[in-house]
């Protein structure tokens, strides 16, 4: 894909975030979509391309009254929306459609109209993981972390500092769910969930949604908002079974998607002004910093613990507060994308001054999939 030929021209989250007991999951898709369409100054009838995950494109398109000529139902977990951005950019460049709407919503807390997640007993996960007591992401996602810690000498305190620093960012964000400051001791004394992780190292569980609208960069200049260009993209998948990752010392999907996006964008790590790394759990930013090549894995824990990603520091990371403190409805990738777009528009609650390049890196499942988008506000 060519850099900077497609742009985000509409971006919005649901009107409310957090606990939303008065809307179904499908309605949250619609709420986010209508907000993004208004943000872009468009009409529903202007949308000719559509992508979503978990819910089907036909479900959401029919509910909204959209008649698309291009759809993408890629559903690989929380980074699906990074993949949608990549696929939409390619589709727009190929002339398959002109204006793509991407929606996410999840009634993750209130569970209204939420599709059931199940693991059939004759699936590979059902046969070779479920019998050993895995039960939801907290029991699965942290399984690699003890090996990662031993290999690279990462400490419990360093992993706790991830949550502390992200709470500092969340404190600046009126829409963040958790804003009160916390200390490393608070994290290490919070309720044990799945050793080595405690409550404050696990993502929130909330309701919400978000939507993006993409079109060609040539058309983007006629829209009301400052265009945010797609500079580089990458994607990959590895395995739906966390036990079957090639190694617990890194994520193959991260190591594939991230460098692809950097290469396509033609940027070096020093060019990155703003970084989002999907943080379903506290170890993900460490994997991300290493797998994306920002630094050797051994340095990732110290880098965050030393304050290098906090407000005002050299590598602003997860500036909305992240899945740990901002919100996490189940598929957080959309909210990471929203924050990158806000930063590139210059309107984020915790705005990074003069940020010109934002890298947004997502995970799907338990290291099962990955998508990376590099944004810029300069063409």
């Amino acid at each position: 894909m060519r850099s900077n030929h497609v742009a985000v021209v509409g971006a919005a989250e649901t009107t409310e975030l957090g606990i939303i007991p008065n809307a179904s999951q499908l309605q949250l898709h619609a709420d986010a979509a209508l907000n993004a369409i208004a943000d872009a100054g468009l009409k529903l009838s202007d949308i000719d391309g559509f992508a979503t995950a978990v819910e089907t494109p036909q479900q959401v398109c029919h509910y909204l009254g959209i008649k698309p000529t291009w759809v993408d139902g890629t559903s690989v977990g929380g980074c699906s929306f990074m993949l949608h951005v990549r696929h939409a950019a390619a589709a727009i460049e190929a002339g398959l459609c002109k204006t793509v709407l991407i929606t996410h919503a999840e009634s993750g807390k209130s569970m209204i109209g939420k599709l059931p997640r199940s693991t059939p007993a004759d699936s590979l996960n059902g046969q070779f993981e479920a019998p050993y007591g895995v039960y939801g992401p907290p029991s699965m996602f942290p399984i690699p972390v003890l090996r990662f810690m031993k290999t690279y000498g990462i400490t419990h305190e360093q992993l706790a500092s991830v949550a502390v620093v992200q709470r500092e960012w969340a404190a600046k964000n009126p829409r963040a769910m958790m804003k009160d400051p916390i200390t490393v001791a608070d994290v290490l004394n919070s309720r044990m969930i799945a050793y080595p992780f405690r409550l404050l190292q696990c993502c929130l569980v909330t309701d919400g949604g978000g939507a993006l609208i993409l079109t060609s960069a040539d058309r983007a200049k006629d829209f009301p908002r400052k265009p945010v260009y797609i500079m580089g993209t990458g994607e990959s998948v590895e395995t739906p079974m966390v036990s079957q990752m090639e190694t617990f010392n890194s994520s193959r999907a991260f190591k594939t998607a991230g460098p692809l996006a950097f290469k396509e964008a033609g940027i070096a790590h020093g060019d990155v002004d703003h970084l989002m790394i999907y943080d379903a759990f506290a170890h993900l930013p460490l994997f991300g910093l290493g797998d994306l090549g920002f630094m050797p894995y051994e340095e990732t824990g110290k880098f965050i613990a030393d304050g290098n990603t906090r407000p005002g520091a050299k590598l602003p990371l997860n500036t909305n507060g992240g899945g740990l403190s901002y919100m996490h409805s189940g598929m957080y990738g959309m909210y990471a994308l929203q924050e990158s777009v806000r930063q590139m528009r210059g309107i984020a609650p915790a705005q990074v001054p003069n940020a010109k390049i934002s890298v947004c890196h997502g995970v799907g499942g338990m290291f099962a999939a990955s998508g990376t988008i590099v944004f810029t506000n300069e063409r």
């Binding site: 004759d122 590979l124 059902g126 070779f128 050993y132 399984i143 972390v145 079974m241 036990s243």
Partner: protein, 137 residues
């Protein structure tokens, strides 16, 4: 009302040999006849070279503790927390998820790289699970 039951695997044609093996007290893996790659979970072709000529063999049952969590909450049906969910690296190369028996479910007792050996836990008359215990000697 019956106690909630632990999730029970349901074999497929491709995995039946594995579950027949555990019932007979054997941990069975597959090896590619063409490239010698040993792999898990079961499938009737080699995920490394795509050859369909593969053989089932009895693994040594030896391995080491690669990583784990000790799950506190929420607990899966049929489990009493805290319990460890482990990933074992087998001597033959592949890794598999399992539980560690005959060992306190604590970070102090569960040392990464500790040597393990397979044991078999019958769930019912059809399914026996491979689990692991600290290796003797």
């Amino acid at each position: 009302m019956a106690e909630p039951q632990r999730a029970r695997p349901k074999p497929t044609p491709e995995t039946q040999h594995f579950w027949d093996g555990t019932k007979a007290g054997e941990l069975r893996l597959q090896r590619c006849d063409a490239c010698t790659h040993v792999y898990f979970p079961p499938r009737p072709f080699c995920p490394s070279c795509a050859s369909r000529k593969v053989s089932v063999f009895k693994a040594s049952g030896k391995g080491f503790l690669y990583s784990y969590v000790i799950n506190h909450r929420p607990a899966a049906p049929g489990f009493t927390p805290p319990y460890a969910i482990a990933v074992v690296e087998l001597a033959e190369g592949p890794r598999m998820m399992s539980n560690i028996i005959d060992c306190p479910q604590t970070p102090e007792a569960l040392e990464l790289d500790m040597k393990l050996e397979v044991a078999f836990q019958a769930l019912d008359d059809k399914i026996t699970l491979p689990v692991f215990r600290p290796a003797k000697g």
